[in-house]
């Protein structure tokens, strides 16, 4: 047991015992769902089903039902893809990078942030798949021997790198998440009273018994997975940015893209975590575990990554002039002052100005302000991708083919539908899964719990007496 400096704010408020942690996390799962859950689930399901309907219509008719034209061949589809992948970056960052940095505050939020990641990457993966038009031929992106002779996928193409990056990211995040879930499922299993719940959770918990050797392995596996997932987080969005950066379109052909995309992804991911967490902690009564300090830490991450993004925007602008390439310069002048100035302006306000407000302690510890900013940031990050993609394409080298992009109702339906589906998944998760890594939270209870922190040391006789030098 490690004793922390008393000046450090506790991470778990109130007088919680180990049993209280179990109770607080398991009660919402065992009790009947509140009426609000059904209402939200119903709304999310209807929106999600509408999205599925739009996707089916798209598959039946063809990609032509999107508002694309021959100048703007990529628009909402890839914007939504990058937006969702970006959102999907916070979970693994919280669970992997913060684990390597031994940040204890991650314990309260890593489970639901990772769930969010996985569902967001599901939604992201949908877009390239439906963009193929013929979904059932999706397996052609894999290097499989086929009847057309020596036809292989192109390993030099960033689009194929994406296939590998996204699928590795999704599957590794899923495994990481599930390995952490197993001991918590065992806790629910051992408490379950209803036979069906008992059966379900005993299957899900894989017969976990909490043996010392298993915990030893568990800790190492978590650490190594964190070590593997950390470069993965950075590589995935770098590779997504290569989709643009390796092309020769002015506005896309930029070496700054990989770090700038990664920072943007973490930025939007944390914003989404804030949006969900602020509602969840209230609805599920987890205020003692996810409190202002956690929100503040996340706001600081938003502030830092937001500043990186802002710096990148300004660097990009400067370089477009400094490079002396007039096409490059025009792409940026057109972004800021052309017909899409409003998209550029919303991107700049939402992503550059709003995170700077987090410098004020009053603002970054205000829950309502955080909630508003988290939504503003997500809107801004959607516009960022829209600006990068559409404004770079819509005025190409040949003025006669200049064009504007107007989304069709299918474009909108598919996008809104993925938001609905995302919430369907997240609400199901919140209903049936432990939303807090409850057994991991117990490990920090003695060092970071409020009641233990300020109590005089009652334990005696352990050999590793780090606490002696405090008295």
């Amino acid at each position: 047991m490690h004793k922390e400096a008393a000046i450090r704010e506790p991470l778990i408020l109130g007088h919680k015992s180990f049993h209280d942690v179990t109770e607080d996390v398991c009660r919402p799962i065992e009790d009947k769902a509140p009426k609000m859950w059904y209402v939200l689930f119903g709304i999310a399901a209807i929106i999600g089903l509408y999205g599925v309907g739009c996707i089916l219509y798209l598959l039946g008719t063809g990609v032509g039902v999107w508002g694309l034209n021959k100048t703007i061949g990529w628009a909402w589809d890839i914007t939504n893809f990058v937006w969702w992948v970006g959102i999907g970056h916070a979970g693994t960052l919280i669970s992997a990078v913060l684990l390597l940095f031994r940040q204890k505050w991650r314990m309260a939020i890593n489970r639901s942030a990772e769930a969010m990641t996985i569902f967001a990457v599901f939604m992201a993966g949908l877009f390239p798949l439906i963009h193929m038009g013929r979904l059932w031929l999706g397996y052609w992106v894999l290097p499989l021997p086929n009847q057309f002779g020596s036809l292989w996928v192109n390993f030099n193409s960033p689009l194929l790198w994406d296939v590998f990056a996204i699928s590795t990211y999704l599957s590794v995040s899923l495994v990481f998440w599930y390995i952490g879930l197993i001991p918590d499922f065992a806790t629910i299993r051992d408490r379950a009273k209803k036979p069906i719940a008992k059966k379900m959770y005993s299957i899900l918990s894989f017969g976990w018994s909490g043996r010392a050797k298993h915990w030893n392995r568990f800790e190492l596996v978590s650490l190594v997975l964190a070590g593997l997932a950390t470069p993965l987080v950075f590589s995935v969005h770098s590779i997504v940015s290569f989709d643009f950066a390796t092309s020769v379109i002015p506005g896309w052909h930029t070496t700054i893209f990989p770090p700038y995309f990664v920072a943007g992804a973490v930025f939007s991911g944390f914003a989404m975590v804030q949006t969900l967490m602020l509602v969840m902690r209230k609805a599920m009564g987890l205020e003692a575990y996810i409190h202002t300090k956690h929100v503040e830490y996340m706001n600081i991450v938003i502030m830092v990554t937001g500043s990186i993004v802002g710096t990148a925007y300004i660097t990009e602008l400067f370089i477009s002039w400094y490079s002396g390439v007039e096409y490059e310069a025009y792409a940026f002048i057109n972004r800021a002052t052309g017909p899409y100035w409003w998209a550029y302006a919303s991107m700049m306000t939402c992503n550059v100005v709003s995170p700077q407000l987090m410098w004020f302690k009053k603002l970054r510890t205000s829950l309502i302000f955080t909630f508003i900013i988290s939504i503003v940031v997500n809107i801004g990050m959607w516009f960022e991708r829209y600006v990068i993609i559409v404004t770079s394409l819509h005025r190409d080298y040949l003025p006669s083919s200049w064009s504007m992009h107007y989304p069709s109702h299918i474009d909108i339906g598919v996008y809104v539908g993925t938001i609905g589906l995302f919430f369907v998944f997240f609400l199901l998760f919140a209903r049936f899964f432990p939303v807090l890594a409850l057994n991991e939270v117990k490990t920090i209870l003695k060092s970071s719990g409020e009641s233990y922190k300020n109590a005089p040391d009652t334990h005696h006789g352990h050999s590793d007496n780090e606490n002696n030098n405090e008295h």
Partner: protein
Amino acid sequence: MAERIFYAMYDDDDVLKDGAKHLVSKGVKVSEVFSPFPIHGIDPIIGIKNTRLGIMAFIYGLTGLLLATIGMRYFMVVDWPMNIGGKPNFTYMDNILAFIPITFEFTVLCAAHGMAITYMLRNRTLPGIPAQNPDPRTTDDRFVMEIRLSENTKFSADDLQGMLKETGIVELDQKELK
């Protein structure tokens, strides 16, 4: 000889750790500890060696690296040297930069999944396997130490019981196996 198993239950991880240290110093063999969360520092006390899964992850990673390299060399250089802008892939080294992203991803894929599967198999935690913790409270807030009589032949059952009682247990359970 009939086997007798003692399950000593604690309500605090540090008390269990101190108890285990005390018992082990007297020569008692603690065969297992069940706990709701990892008790740091218990492994060396009860003689559990550190896991070697990390080495396995490294080997799986190397396998992935090798497979990706062999695969891409075959697809892009041997079987069908793709000609991009008049620059065909004559050797793997010519284009190695373009192969790095997938090599990296595939290495991580193999290392992570290989390790996760090995972890499940070694733990024997798989879907459908029944739980083996002696008391359902050990996944909540109780910590159980398991001591087997057959592994502690120099002590009698009463000796063990007496020693356990000194360590601050909250409950003591016994199981007879024929």
